[in-house]
């Protein structure tokens, strides 16, 4: 799984230090990790389950599971990648419990947007509009398709990782992705 948000060596060292202290039971260090990662965890949960209240419950449980599993974290993967996996698994558990939920549009809650080129305002405006339409289109996908698009096209998981996590075959994951992309393209065309 790729993580495109680069962090400096100093930040990495600080995070490793926090993880090591949290592994030894230091709850202040874990609180710092929670503060650092809670938005990412909540964002992923929100994209997977749609419903904001359910997403908050998922994020809470994922962070608690992370605390309990922390002694087993060996640093083979990045901490954010590891916590994403826990969040995805927790999302499936909660969704099974809660049944299907209607997705809620998420654009009004977006806090930090990826930068657009301010030198070309007309292009920037177009990109912002496309992003808004895209977020709405992703949110409108059926659950099974949205989950695959979120994990593959936004978070860069492989088909095998998605299939493994969702308990489906690689072929099923590919089919869902194809249907989702086709629907996204159609929705974007219609809303243009």
């Amino acid at each position: 799984m790729s993580n495109q948000s680069g962090s400096s060596p100093v930040e990495n060292q600080r995070e490793l230090d926090l993880i090591s202290r949290a592994q030894n039971g230091d709850r202040a260090a874990f609180a710092a990790l929670v503060r650092e990662h809670q938005d990412e965890v909540y964002t992923l949960a929100r994209r997977l389950v749609g419903d904001p209240h359910l997403a908050a419950d998922v994020a809470q449980e994922a962070l608690i599971r992370a605390w309990r599993a922390l002694p087993k974290f060996r640093g083979d993967a990045k901490f954010s990648t590891w916590i994403y996996r826990i969040t995805v698994n927790t999302s499936w558990t909660h969704k099974k419990r809660a049944g299907r939920h209607q997705a809620t549009p998420i654009e009004e809650h977006t806090q930090v947007a990826a930068p657009v080129d301010a030198r070309h305002p007309e292009v920037a405006g177009e990109i912002l509009e496309l992003r808004a339409r895209l977020r709405h289109a992703v949110d409108s996908l059926p659950d099974a398709q949205r989950e695959v698009v979120v994990l593959k096209d936004i978070y860069g998981w492989s088909h095998a990782e998605i299939a493994d996590s969702m308990g489906i075959t690689v072929t099923a994951a590919k089919v869902r992705l194809h249907r989702a992309r086709a629907r996204l393209a159609r929705d974007l065309e219609e809303s243009a």
Binding site: N3, Y42, Q111, A182
Partner: protein, 109 residues
């Protein structure tokens, strides 16, 4: 022509997202078909924007950190003060219950 476009669609989408070429049976069709090229362009742009969404954050509820940490408090509290005494008491009680049941069993003679 449109049937071929529909058959090529998933491969056009994959190529647009992954940045590779469309697979061989559809490559020449896609190169000549304006509809497929337009789809490719739309999908490439969509894919770029989807990737950019990874850096967009939705603010977590203000009380999330508090909820997590207070749950941990309960977790540790239970582990330290309750789990062992509860397990020991349950073991002692079940032993006592077994003795009482044995002593009070009906005897035939």
């Amino acid at each position: 022509m449109s049937v071929v476009c529909e058959m090529a669609a998933p491969f056009v989408a994959n190529s647009a997202v992954d940045g590779g070429e469309v697979i061989l049976p559809f490559r020449s069709h896609t190169a000549a078909c304006l509809k497929c090229q337009a789809r490719h362009a739309v999908m490439s742009r969509t894919a770029r924007e989807l990737v950019a969404m990874q850096d967009q954050r939705i603010a977590a509820p203000a009380d999330l950190e508090w909820r997590v940490l207070s749950s941990l408090e309960g977790d540790l509290e239970l582990a330290r003060t309750w789990r062992t005494p509860v397990a020991l008491s349950a073991a002692v009680l079940s032993m006592a219950a077994a003795i009482v049941i044995w002593r009070l069993r009906p005897r035939t003679s």
